[in-house]
Amino acid sequence: MSSFIEKPRFACPLGGALATVGALPRVVPILHSSQGCGGNSNGAIMGAAGHLGSGYCGGASVPASGISEQQIVFGGITRLEEQLQSTTEIIDADLFVVITGCTAEIIGDDVPAVVRAYNADRNSRAPLIHATAAGFKGNSYFGYDSVLQSLFRDYVVPAEKKKKHHVNLWGAPPAFDVFWEGNLLELRRILEGIGLTVNSFFTNRDSLPVIRNSAEAELNIVVSPVNGVPAAEVFKEVHGVDHFITDLPIGAKATETFVREVAQRLDLCKKQVETFLEAENKRYYHFFNRISDSYCDLDLQRYTVIVADTTYAVALTRFAVKELGWLPTLVAITDPIEDDKKPPFLDLFEGILDNPKATVVYETDASQVSKHLFKRWPQSDGGKYSRPFSPSFVIGSRLDKDFADSIKAGHLSVAYPISNRFVLNRAYAGYTGALHLVEDIFSVLVANR
């Protein structure tokens, strides 16, 4: 039973699907939904995603059938077919994705039939696939997964013969991981450094022909315990490629573990891997250790509250504990879970937190995070020997800034939504990414100097 949510930190599947399609090279979405769905999602996937722009054909340019009362009563297929025809006349794309929203799916338009008919007769027009994204089916992470599934089932061509050392990489959803492109590019760089050929779908280095042939990969690597995991199952079912689900690696320690796991799975040359890791570590600590003087003299260790989706909650907690030497008092995972279900993924915090059950909580509502903190660290009464929650830092989303201010903690927007920063190619993952994260966090700590 899903509950109401105060300030949900995601959009609906349609929003997720729009952002995902928008990040594919020369792929254009066609919405089959109420007229407002695209316009409303745009705020979530642009202004709240590090000011990610409209891109090639996003924002107000997204083609849309604009279901209104007429279509609700009489059906929307005629309008959709008309829109498909006109879109293919005027828009230059290599692939179109029809994304269906609430109203289209409630009124029961047979979109797959329309898509089949289109593809059977497409002539020189670009191919068309369909991603289901009705708003009540989940949230934006569902939409991301839905687009991946459609790609895997309906666009990626079968490949009996697999190519050695070719891998597919996903798990960082466009817009909803605000640093997705930088993250994927950094992880690509690392995987290429150990001799792999990488397809990462959603970066400026990716292209449709490669995506189309991605079933030739030896292994799929999913850098999230949750995002894109169902799609990995589909890839295995349809194309027989195995997958490796792991956490998003941030920092030298986590990235080294990541690299070794991939190397072991693919039986890579040990020497090349070790040489690569040695060079990366050297470079990393050359920069990372530079903070040491100020870390010492200014005592930059912090108690921290981490507020993020599952993927970032795990990744940031691990980085904060193992590399920054910080102390997470509370980790609030903002993804919704069923009330009666046991909190999932606590095991991912084993070896990082002393008592995951006590430290980790699932909380979707922004205003409630403070009460979880005060349960674990009672508010100080200001007495002579009381213990205030200080010095402290909140690593969360933009929505957690008021909370951070209220407990006089530093704050950095890392998790979605982020409206108070611009993000271009910045990574937080891997080696380079972690150095960025250190710069950004520690800059907050010295902002008034």
């Binding site: 300030k7 407002g36 316009g39 849309a64 209104s68 009362e69 279509q71 708003g135 009540f136």
Partner: protein
């Protein structure tokens, strides 16, 4: 005629029958709208727009100490996420020191709820919102899904209102119900009229002296109706010139605390700055509370500021005083503008925004700044538009495009017209910029556009933008737009359809 007895007011589609698909000459638009045929026009190729939900909730959420509940699947309110900090700033700017910004919930309807109904979740959310935030008002924004499955948000509100401290205000802003997002304004005003205007407690009895003072003050008090796209400095400027006429001003509805709405009856006149927003509200205020109104234009540019001020002045019988004020202000303004005019002479501008602002701003660019307006786009067009486009009648060389965004038409037009400047609405500007055209946003939460000082502020910003347009030029050189070359050879209005399914 009053619609307040209805749960849901009629949509604009029915009530005003506007047009949102047109391309061609202004005179054809004005005359065509009068015949009533244009309101069925649609498009065979369409691009996404917003819906009345976002506009409604934007207005509702601006009200401090209120909570907004989006009753629907989790994505319907997601646009709020981009405004996390902005709402708080705007509320604080109007003196709401303890403002916390926008507070919203989603009832997060799931697949199960689509089958079983979502009313229970709505009840739960209302109780929790009331408990957590103790707001004065809780607005419920209904969305497509609960409307289709038959959730009755008015019943929910009615049956739990006496167990909840906040006033529960249901808003029927379902996206698919109207093709014109401006219906949103009627929806919110309908809620305000029905729920926020009556004093729950009886007013304390006044002494005779107090009553006299009250009556005197009321005689020269106006309700100034602001809009969400106005800035606080816009409000300050309008209050300044109304004060100069000896008038007291109360500002509604955006950013006004919910408890203050009862005082909207304490005015002699309602002053709208935009018919698109306010015609529903002012008509009902007149019918139910006897408060007359002026509604003709938006005070942008000296021509329209004059028209606006004289409408108000004539009501209070102070035309002479107003003419003196106008003369003084215009003299001061023209002196300030003089050094800027050489830069603007012969600059070719394209304007794109809501109907009323489009006409007035275009007029300002020509008559106050000496530019040449070469094209105008309006989000929709209805009979209220005629007066602001008066100065463009008969000028057949200026294409008029009525469209809610639809950048594909804009891109085609701009490729042909090659303006030096584009002044547009959020989400449209970037598509002109991507063609290399320098842009000034045509409204903004921090800037002054209205009144006399607004004219000057727009002028100095335009001067700044024209001085260095490198950013835009580079953008134009390095962007590939998504349209096939063939599109640019076609008429920009090729995909506007006169008959059949309106879309």
């Amino acid at each position: 005629m009053s619609y307040l007895h209805l749960k849901v007011p009629p949509t604009r589609d029915v009530r005003l029958r506007p047009c949102n698909a047109f391309g061609g000459k202004l005179d054809d638009l004005v005359e065509g709208q009068k015949t009533g045929c244009l309101c069925t026009s649609g498009r065979t190729f369409a691009q996404t727009t917003g819906c009345q939900l976002t506009l409604s909730m934007g207005m509702a959420a601006s009200i401090p100490n209120s909570v907004v509940i989006y009753h629907g699947p989790v994505g319907c309110g997601a646009a709020s996420l981009a405004l996390a900090g902005v709402s708080k700033q705007s509320q604080q700017a109007r003196g709401n020191d303890d403002a916390v910004g926008r507070v919203w919930f989603s009832t997060n309807l799931s697949e199960v709820d689509v089958v079983a109904g979502g009313e229970q979740k709505l009840e739960d959310a209302i109780f929790e919102a009331d408990r957590r935030f103790k707001p004065h008002a809780i607005f419920i924004g209904n969305t497509c899904v609960p409307a289709i499955i038959g959730d009755d948000i008015d019943s929910v509100a009615e049956r739990i209102q006496d167990r909840v401290n906040a006033r529960i205000i249901p808003l029927h802003c379902e996206g698919f119900k109207t093709r014109f997002v401006a219906t949103a304004y009627d929806i919110v005003y309908h809620g305000i009229l029905r729920h926020l205007l009556d004093d729950k407690k009886p007013a304390p009895a006044l002494t005779e002296a107090e009553q006299l003072a009250y009556d005197e003050k009321k005689k020269r008090t106006v309700n100034l109706l602001n809009v969400g796209s106005m800035s606080h400095v816009d409000e300050i400027e309008l209050v300044r010139i109304l004060n100069a006429l000896g008038l007291e001003v109360n500002v509604y509805p955006c950013f006004t605390a919910a408890e203050k709405f009862v005082k909207v009856k304490d005015a002699a006149l309602s002053v709208s700055i935009c018919a698109t927003h306010d015609d529903y509200f002012v008509e009902h205020l007149q019918e139910h509370y006897g408060i007359p109104y002026v509604l003709n234009t938006i005070p942008i540019g000296t021509d329209n500021v004059r028209l606006w001020l004289l409408d108000i002045a004539d009501f209070f019988n102070i035309r002479e005083q107003a003419l003196e004020l106008i003369k003084k202000e215009e003299t001061e303004l023209r002196a300030a503008l003089a050094p800027l005019l050489p830069l603007f002479k012969d600059k070719r501008a394209f304007v794109s925004t809501g109907e009323i602002r489009a006409g007035a701003q275009a007029c300002m660019l020509e008559n106050d700044l000496g530019m040449q307006v070469i094209g105008i786009r309006a989000h929709h067009y209805d009979h209220f538009g005629e007066i602001v486009f008066e100065s463009f009648k008969g000028r057949d060389e200026i294409p008029i495009n009525v469209a809610a965004n639809q950048p594909y038409e804009q891109v085609n037009l701009l490729r042909r017209l090659k303006p030096d400047l584009f002044l547009g609405h959020g989400n449209s500007n970037v598509w002109a910029a991507k063609q290399g055209v320098p842009v000034l946003p045509i409204y903004g939460p921090q800037n002054n556009y209205l009144g006399y000082k607004g004219i000057f502020e727009v002028a100095i910003r335009l001067e700044r933008i024209l001085k260095n347009s490198n950013y835009y030029n580079t953008l134009g050189d390095t962007t590939t737009l998504p349209y096939k070359e063939e599109w640019y050879d076609l008429d920009p209005f090729t995909y506007i359809r006169q008959t059949g399914e309106a879309a």
